[in-house]
Symmetry: D2
Subunit: 144 residues, 4 copies
């Protein structure tokens, strides 16, 4: 897929918006890739982000996947837009093990009002090996 | 709906498991109701749990809704079970405003392997008025 | 929940629209309840609507649940609206056995652009006993 | 992705099972591709499969996507398995226009009990041009 940005300052605006998402600082997530239609957010594992078995909690996976989807949608919207999540579905494929997690979102279909986005979340081990741990399919809305 | 527990110590086990979910301490969530088939988790709003507009991040709503669904499923499982989330879908209905948030999960269908659970997440204001901000429909699996 | 219609002729318009859904005639489905925010569609079982074990195919359950959701959303929209499905998720709870199937949709949250709707699909046996076989959570959009 | 079949007669069994899905004959759908982890089902447009605007009904799109997902999951299961749909979510991306529709399912993650599958549904016009009209993300269960 090839994506075309319509807002020349989308990357700068996404970085500014991400910086306002206080939850990202709390959990230690970073915006690691910003391109038209594609966003990645990275999150080092921390023991205080876990569920009962010590794996990353599904809700924290969802936190980075949802923001990645929202910004991927935003990156293709016209200037002066605002993006909100309408809904998402997450399939949890494996225990969320990893030294770092990367949520990679890519727009499936960008529309005037609604944008459909897919995100894959990978667990990355010490040797840089990636394993898909979850996948999201969601809908974002453009407010303007 | 009426739900029947098969594990006499389900409530104690859920409390112990919840205490091991380190993410709950980080965000300040508490288990506020534990009954067969019904679980509530409460979360006071904090400014460091927000998305770019200052509302609770959808992923944090999801964090409490997912754990509530998991424990609701667990509450109806036989002794010596383990529960994992298979998938969930969340519809975000309104901006997540509130002084406190309550995720209320209830089992829709409890099966030998899979349990389907629904959760509503409410924002509660200073005067105790509840407004539905999100709803989840998810699938949990019993490992034993 | 109490729902308020804003289009005085919603019921008539839903009946006319349903009559144009040629798939409903092919499978033998009927509109069996039309109220503000609540729609039911009924479908007698037929051997030519089945999956490999003779149960009603999940896609046919979805067909009646999706239309019930769409019309439930429409029933609360202003005059001169048009409704389309944005997305839906279906959990299949039991084998779809029954002499008749009833999809009952009810609006969860009606908005200016988007409406979230839930539908339960019941299998009804010869003695009128209902069993929940599937549940849908979906999003509908208002075009005008 | 590369997929490995464990049941040497999976293709034959899928064809036999598909032939038992009576709904496929009613709507005119055909199994057009059977490979390990990948299944396609094709459906020529017919005026009696439509919603109120004459487009293919979302439930019929879902019917072919769901069966494609189920058989894609089945193709990677061990001999003597049985497959059932647990849940699926469908995003409807564009009006379902086309002379023919093709649902292409591919396994995302194959597990002992659960398999996660994605399906894209394309509308194909007179000149063979494909447009993505819907995408499904679903969970299938292996019974044995």
């Amino acid at each position: 897929m090839s994506h075309q940005a319509r807002n020349p300052s989308f990357a700068e605006e996404i970085k500014q918006s991400f910086a306002k998402q206080t939850i990202m600082e709390l959990i230690g997530a970073e915006l690691s890739r910003v391109e038209p239609g594609i966003i990645e957010i990275s999150l080092p594992y921390r023991a205080d982000l876990a569920q009962q078995h010590g794996y990353l909690h599904a809700g924290i996976l969802t936190t980075i996947a949802d923001s990645a989807c929202g910004y991927a949608a935003y990156s293709l919207m016209p200037p002066n837009s605002e993006v909100l999540s309408v809904e998402f579905k997450v399939n949890l494929l494996r225990p969320a093990k990893g030294q770092t997690f990367v949520a990679r979102a890519e727009v499936v279909k960008s529309g005037k009002t609604l944008t459909v986005v897919r995100a894959d979340v990978f667990g990355v081990d010490e040797d840089g090996r990636r394993e898909l741990v979850a996948t999201m399919l969601g809908t974002m809305i453009c407010l303007s």
